[in-house]
């Protein structure tokens, strides 16, 4: 366990070094939040929908922005993919840890380190905004606790999906195509493009059977009380089942990949 924790610490320190990058990221998050607020406001001026009201929607939007680096599909810097391409993966294979979990933790700590720097300012900013556009307090303490649990499990789900995609690129040696296709479809089905309650019912019923909505849609809706505690608890159970399935697939793929891996470079 110790090497994992120390890796997390070092990753956090690296993140703190790049303050400008963090600031630029912050500005982007503010701006996109405001932009979404504008667009959705325009729609709500014309009509309202029964699946989600504007107050809940604004919570959804701002939480998505605040925890963006936790729940997004691809983070910019893709160290592991580079390692596969340039052959440095050989060093990783020599390390005395399970490679799957090592990379898993690497991804996870990168996400939390990036989020650690950004989420607080975005949340504060969103709280301070004028009335209909602001982030409100969670509906109840129970909902807030469930929100935190669901968000954490959601991060585990997205990382285990990323692990699968990444392992596939072991076979193809190119990641761009498959990653961008998965992230485009995934962003739609997980409510990053527009909140899931605003999608047509047909799509919603499809998402019920996929792990994507459990990444961030569940937690964001629990926070604002758009879905009840009971349904939330059930979904958290579902999250755990999905984590087991996805990790099992990922580990299996990794096993096959490592048997076939050829090291690039000389």
């Amino acid at each position: 366990m110790k090497p994992y924790i120390s890796y997390f610490k070092s990753e956090l320190l690296v993140g703190l070094q790049y303050k400008e990058a963090a600031l630029a990221g912050l500005a982007t998050q503010f701006f996109w939040g405001i932009l979404y607020a504008f667009v959705f406001q325009a729609f709500y001026n014309h009509a309202s929908v029964d699946t989600i009201n504007f107050k809940e929607l604004m919570c959804y939007v701002w939480l998505n922005q605040a925890f963006f680096s936790l729940i997004i599909f691809v983070l910019r810097d893709n160290q592991i993919m580079d390692q596969i391409k340039n052959g440095a993966v050989a060093y990783e294979l020599c390390r005395p840890y399970d490679l799957y979990w090592w990379w898993f933790l690497k991804h996870l700590s990168k996400r939390y380190a990036a989020c650690f720097l950004r989420c607080l300012p975005v949340l504060v900013f969103a709280f301070l905004l004028p009335k209909p556009y602001n982030l409100t307090l969670p509906i109840s303490i129970e909902a807030f606790v469930l929100f935190l649990i669901a968000l954490f499990l959601g991060t585990i789900i997205i990382v285990s999906i990323v692990m699968i995609v990444q392992t596939i690129s072991f076979f193809t040696y190119q990641d761009k195509g498959i990653t961008s296709i998965v992230s485009t479809v995934g962003a739609l089905l997980s409510g990053l493009d527009i909140p899931l309650p605003l999608l047509p019912i047909i799509i919603l019923s499809i998402t019920e059977y996929l792990p994507f909505r459990l990444i961030s849609d569940l937690s964001q809706r629990l926070y604002s009380g758009n879905i009840g505690i009971e349904y939330g608890l059930k979904s958290i159970g579902l999250q755990i089942i999905w984590i087991i399935i996805l990790v099992a697939i990922g580990k299996l793929l990794m096993k096959i990949a490592l048997r076939k891996v050829s090291i690039q470079g000389g």
Binding site: L35, I178, S180, L198, L199, I203
Partner: protein, 258 residues
């Protein structure tokens, strides 16, 4: 112009070297556009706005914007990646060559991956305009062409202004990305859904409404005012302003090379 054609063929050769990666990227890029179109459509469906807005008008506005955007991304990607040219000092090389600077900057990166978006949005553009226009006249055809050109001019101007900022900051700014992608995000919906202030902003500062909102009124026959046909030409003002700003920045430019 011959120079630019030369650039085009060179970059085509580069792209075709990595065929499978190239095709995958085209597919995923086009898919991303479809997802955007889908979300626009889904929102209109959800808020029952399709009774008020004709869905072909929605498609036409959307495809005009994306067509102009993808064409500029295809040909003028160099301006989008201007910070790279500045950081590694290559900009100095461009400056001493006896050729048009703008063409050279465009020529540093021709992004053929956008070709899928261009073709698909062109198809939607033609399809929806056929559905909207009951009988074609010379002016309506002219307007369709001007809409696309005008849209390209607007996006190109934003790119130029973004590149100018790099003279000062050296580093590329995410802020520029916010402006380009943010504009696309807002303007891919019919501008009619927004409050007047938003429309005014996108008429005066970033004149997108001149190419994908007001002219549609003329195409549908809601107005006969001939001035609507020449509206997209006004975007040229933004181009001159941005070119002026660029040249101003160029004079202040200090090399980063060694």
């Amino acid at each position: 112009m011959k120079l630019f054609l030369n650039y085009l063929s060179l970059h085509l050769k580069i792209s075709l070297e990595y065929k499978s990666s190239f095709i995958m990227t085209i597919i995923s890029q086009t898919l991303a556009m479809f997802v955007e179109l889908f979300t626009v459509y889904a929102l209109f469906l959800k808020f029952k706005l399709l009774d008020i807005y004709n869905s072909y008008e929605l498609l036409l506005g959307f495809s005009t914007l994306w067509l102009g955007f993808s064409l500029i991304e295809l040909f003028a990607r160099g301006f989008d990646h201007f910070s790279h040219i500045i950081i590694n000092g290559n900009f100095d090389i461009l400056l001493i060559r006896p050729a048009n600077l703008f063409i050279q900057i465009c020529g540093t990166d021709i992004c053929y991956e956008k070709i899928g978006r261009v073709l698909v949005s062109l198809f939607i553009f033609i399809y929806s305009s056929i559905k909207i226009i009951s009988h074609f006249t010379f002016y309506k055809l002219l307007l369709l062409v001007l809409m696309v050109i005008g849209c390209m001019v607007v996006i190109f101007s934003i790119f130029i202004i973004g590149a100018t900022i790099c003279f000062v900051t050296i580093q590329g700014l995410e802020a520029v990305n916010i402006i380009t992608n943010g504009t696309r995000q807002v303007c891919q919906y019919p501008m009619g859904i927004y409050k007047k202030a938003v429309r005014v902003f996108f008429t005066i500062f970033i004149p997108v409404t001149l190419v994908n909102y007001y002219p549609i009124d003329y195409l549908t026959g809601r107005t006969d005012n001939i001035l609507y046909v020449f509206m997209p030409i006004l975007t040229i003002i933004m181009f001159f302003i941005s070119k002026f700003i660029f040249n101003f920045g160029l004079r202040k430019y200090c090399s980063t090379g060694s």
